[in-house]
Amino acid sequence: MEAILQVKGLRKFYGKLEALQGIDFEVRKGEIFALIGPNGAGKTTTLRVIATLLSPSDGEVRFNGFDLKKNPEKFRERISYLPEEAGAYRNLKGLDYLKFMARFYANSRQEVETFIQRAVSIADLGERIKEKIGTYSKGMVRKLLLGRALMTSPQLAILDEPTSGLDVINALEVREIIKKFAAGGLSVLLSSHNMLEIEFLSHRVALINKGQILDAGSPEELKAKYQASNLEEVFRRALR
């Protein structure tokens, strides 16, 4: 399968702290690729670099042939990023927020409407979509933001802990949405602490710890390699 994102030797320093110590992986077209690891492993930093929020200290990130350092705007046009614990403008109504975000990507009014319809369908907030975001629950905000992230059908959706802080029902709905969109040809790069979630969602997984990739492969490959029954065990054994 064709790789749309290639990360080679990615390093990132925060002052003297080396958060990423030369990371390599690739994301293929139509696959869900997950980064799993403990807190402080470097997952968010990796996603932030690819989302053009942080500049890499060293290494290469290429998306559809474009180099991140030279063409960050090409990345922004084609990717969509959902940060962990992201918020939305509390004074805007849900629908107005979607319209505001859609206008950055759409080339016509019709396209704006198409994006909004798609987001409304993903968020599935009913009539509440017409109310101010400040009145939403955390789960509703997350679904709205997921709708926003996926409404433009980006070539790559970067989702940082997409079900973070959600209850079981909302988390299940969000997972279903992600799976459905990937089935439509969308590539997804996500991170999570939740290994069961990753196992359910991902085609391939990279185990990350202390800024390094320990191993990568499909959940089945990794479980077979480490003779483990689930990804939690895989991770524990990979750390040894």
Binding site: Y81, P83, A86, N91, L145
Partner: protein, 430 residues
């Protein structure tokens, strides 16, 4: 451009909250009521005031004095009392504030030049500015009577001589010069009028800069606190557009807020100082000011507007940089303080100090603050010092350009997310 207007519209919509509108309306209503109260107090003080009079003298002089009090807007109320103590008590019981005691032989004393002093007793029933007005007016009436009596006395003694020539042997005519123009008038009167006319300029400027800066600093801090900045920074729009939209949005809302604020403030001030245009109509001050060229022409207003606008932009650019340093909304409120001080320094100096008489280092320090220039611009324009005004504009332009480059640079790098000014230990999310 569409993306920019989309962002600008969002910024303005985010800033114009229900709370902001409520606070602005409340402020206007509050100022209006305070102004109205002050106005009614002033009116009350200007009404005919009662003055209790205990007259132990029956000469024509004392009668004339009482008549003159009527001309001075007093209503003399004769008291029937045996002594001063009773008169004081009666004055208090009848809620009058002023008592005049004319001693026995007052008129005779004037004729013989053996003066017997009048006594006045003033009740201080409140400590407001208007409370003491009666006594001041009374003293003014006495001054007029004194002048009249002394003129009368001198005219009787030296019939062929104008008494004023003896009392005021030195006459003066005052002229004021501004550049090459000259007019007869008092410099004190003219500067007093100009100050009263331009006192709103520094207040407006201070309000707009502080309002807009607070908005931009809060807007950035709120984006950080609500975790919306990260999303915004990944959408396909130039980072400079994000910075500019935030600044422009805040400037627009700040300007509207300041105008509304000033409408309220005008009501408030009108209560105290009254209608200035009515005052100028009643004197020849307007003619003097016109002949001295001390009124701004449309072009000068344009230059003043440009100076004000650049000062606002400088404030917004500084606030943008400070906003990046803020961790959340609360810390943003503390970070605005340095900027507020930079505005307050020239603001207070414009009221209390003369920039021209300052020492060179102090002057340099004041000129380095970009906000000083519009504070100085109106008087420099009136006095024809275009060099200072245009120099200030050029300085603010350079200052703004440098700040905007710094702000855009910060927004284009990791610093927009990693730069923080805090006293706790720095944490990095990996």
């Amino acid at each position: 451009m569409k993306k920019f207007t989309n962002l600008l519209a969002k910024e303005i919509r985010e800033l114009i909250t229900f709370q902001l509108l409520i606070s602005l309306v409340f402020m206007v209503i509050l100022f209006y009521f305070i102004g109205q109260m002050a106005k009614s107090e002033v009116k009350r003080a200007m009404r005919k005031q009662k003055i209790a009079v205990l007259n132990f003298d029956s000469s024509p002089f004392s009668q004339e004095l009482i008549q003159n009090l009527r001309a001075g807007n007093f209503e003399p109320v004769p008291l029937q009392a045996e002594n001063k103590e009773d008169a004081i008590e009666q004055t208090n019981n009848s809620k009058m504030n002023l008592l005049l005691v004319i001693p026995e032989g007052f008129g005779q004393g004037i004729e013989n030049l053996e003066l017997k002093p009048l006594e006045t007793y003033t009740y201080l029933r409140s400590l407001t500015l208007m409370a003491n007005r009666n006594a001041a007016v009374f003293n003014a009436v006495l001054r007029v009577i004194n002048n009249y009596l002394s003129n009368d006395y001198l005219a009787k003694k030296i019939p062929d001589l104008d008494p004023n020539k003896i009392k005021n042997p030195i006459k003066s005519r005052n002229f004021v010069l501004v550049k090459e123009r000259m007019a007869e008038g008092s410099a004190e009167q003219i500067t007093g009028f100009i100050t009263s006319q331009s006192m709103f300029v520094p207040i407006i400027l201070m309000m707009i800069i502080i309002y807009s800066s607070q908005m931009v600093i809060s807007a950035i801090a709120m984006e950080k606190q609500n975790k919306t900045l990260e999303t915004l920074l990944t959408v396909p729009i130039r980072r400079t557009s994000i910075v500019t939209a935030k600044m422009l949005g805040s400037a627009v809302v700040g300007l509207i807020s300041a105008i509304i604020y000033m409408v309220g403030f005008r009501y408030y001030m009108a209560g105290f100082i009254g209608d200035v245009s009515a005052a100028i109509k009643s004197s020849n001050l307007g003619e003097i000011i016109k002949s001295l060229g001390l009124s701004l022409s449309p072009n000068q207003y344009l230059i003043l507007g440009l100076s004000l606008f650049l000062a606002i932009l400088c404030g917004l650019a500084m606030a943008t940089i400070l906003g990046v340093l803020a961790e959340d909304y609360r810390s943003a409120q503390s970070l605005i303080m340095p900027l507020v001080f930079l505005v307050l320094i020239p603001y207070f100096l414009s009221f209390f100090a003369d920039f021209n008489s300052m020492s060179v280092p102090a002057k340099l320090l004041v000129y380095l603050i970009p906000f000083s220039h519009p504070f100085l611009a109106s008087q420099n324009l009136l006095l024809g010092n275009y060099g200072s005004v245009l120099g200030g504009i050029a300085y603010m332009l350079v200052f703004f350009a440098v700040l905007i480059v710094v702000a855009a640079r910060i927004f284009s790098t990791d610093k927009v997310l990693t730069m923080k000014l805090r006293f706790r230990r720095k944490q990095v999310v990996l």
